[in-house]
Symmetry: C2
Subunit: 316 residues, 2 copies
Amino acid sequence: MTGHVVALCGGVGGAKLAQGLSMALPPEELSLIVNTGDDFRHLGLHISPDLDSVVYALAGLSDPVRGWGRRDETWTFMEALKGLGGESWFQLGDGDLAIHVERTWRLTHGATLSEATAHLCRALGIATRVLPMSDDPVRTRVLTAEGWLDFQEYFVHRQCRPAVQGFAFAGAETARAQPDALAALERRDLRAIVICPSNPFVSVEPILAVPGIRAAIQQSQAPVVAVTPIIGGKAIKGPAAKMMAELRLDVSGAAVARRYAGIIDGFVVDHTDPLPESWADIQFFSAATLMNTSDDRLQLAHAVLQTADRLGANLT
Amino acid sequence: MTGHVVALCGGVGGAKLAQGLSMALPPEELSLIVNTGDDFRHLGLHISPDLDSVVYALAGLSDPVRGWGRRDETWTFMEALKGLGGESWFQLGDGDLAIHVERTWRLTHGATLSEATAHLCRALGIATRVLPMSDDPVRTRVLTAEGWLDFQEYFVHRQCRPAVQGFAFAGAETARAQPDALAALERRDLRAIVICPSNPFVSVEPILAVPGIRAAIQQSQAPVVAVTPIIGGKAIKGPAAKMMAELRLDVSGAAVARRYAGIIDGFVVDHTDPLPESWADIQFFSAATLMNTSDDRLQLAHAVLQTADRLGANLT
């Protein structure tokens, strides 16, 4: 099968499948639409955590142990910043700082987030198109028992401790979808739309909240396949499982699939979990979704593409 | 002798004597007025090289080998920045970045350069007052055979290669002297004004170009003593000697003293150089001006204070 593939993803987990897809497909056959709801300004720097995770994954720069940030990182800046009485709740590695400084500088000089991202990708030899969901600011906010919190306040500063009750994506109503992202979703040669194993509430739904994106996915003739971020009732990384429990949802792939009802045609659960029965036009599939190695990522990418192709054959 | 001492200084060489004075005097008896003509914005960061040199020297954080920047520095940021195609002509150490990021963030949020500097000093345990010459931007420009160059373009990017013909301090006409700096120069209990062994053209003269500062020094009853930045016809560090030759000046302490005519009462040459005869109300003194060790700095500080006290006794 040929044709274009679009993948929606957030940070770490999603970035791993994005990397797998980038290995499985020629660069002109893949567009990645990345969540920017986690973006924030910190110490004057524009930080795009999910874009960075995707860029580092595709460039082979991800830290394999920590699970976030750059490999071969040093922490001299943070130590010095603490010595100056600076805000130290958000960890900024020395190498990681380069992407924040370079991006912020380009944005200050009038570049869009897309343009800054394209520059960084070119510099790092990434041929796959990495697209922010929007060049306009959309900011995920978390409603907790303690009130509304900005996402990074909740996620990093408070370490996801406050129980969540809901989410809002400030600015989403007026944000414009990144034009190339929307155009990719509207391509007539679209082979598949993939929703990567990212947190549904704070990675995927912010993307779907940008006007035009949900509709473009729903109107697409291409099969839409999501991959579970939950294995054995636990999130592989991050607060997805904790959030589901606090929202009184079943902590399972099937419950994530239900969040995507009306959007997806297929949902891939982990092969160690029971295969749910089809539900509301969603067919379930099974694959090894844990991605520890580069080979795991490529294998899952192939499995997802095969699933999409099978669904596509049935849809047409 | 007691009374307040004010020292004018630029970066590395001046910072060494500033450190010596800070060891020789209780903090309430010393104010340092620091050149900000080298300040510039780079990658969106406000960089104040001379303030940083002084702060690092007083905090015991200066790198003893490199002669600039922080000790125990790492360079992961620069390597990563190069990988992103970023501007790499200005070396930014990982630890050094902390002071630029913290300062820039504070300036962006409405702090003056003085306030940001005071905060950094407090955090680092520096009790001596470190004052920028002005909170308004003054930018040293260098007229060369190739035309006008911004200071850092000349100093770092072009490594002082173009021959200099003159200097300008853009913004100096309208800049307001830092109020505490001016007040310190106008104190009635002033024991001495010290001009540190800094580059006369691009470290000391920018300070003197700020309206009110030159007049306050001239009107002060306190003795004014400068220390040579030239030993044996060479600058200890930096382009002072090269500049003097290109400007067809004698490369000597005496020639530096002549730049300060009308301002200074005494001038300290190195003890390895011949002692010039008094010239236009300037008396010459001799001391060991090379400051390799912390003890050298303290010894020179004592020698300069003694010189000032001798001059003061004659002036009154």
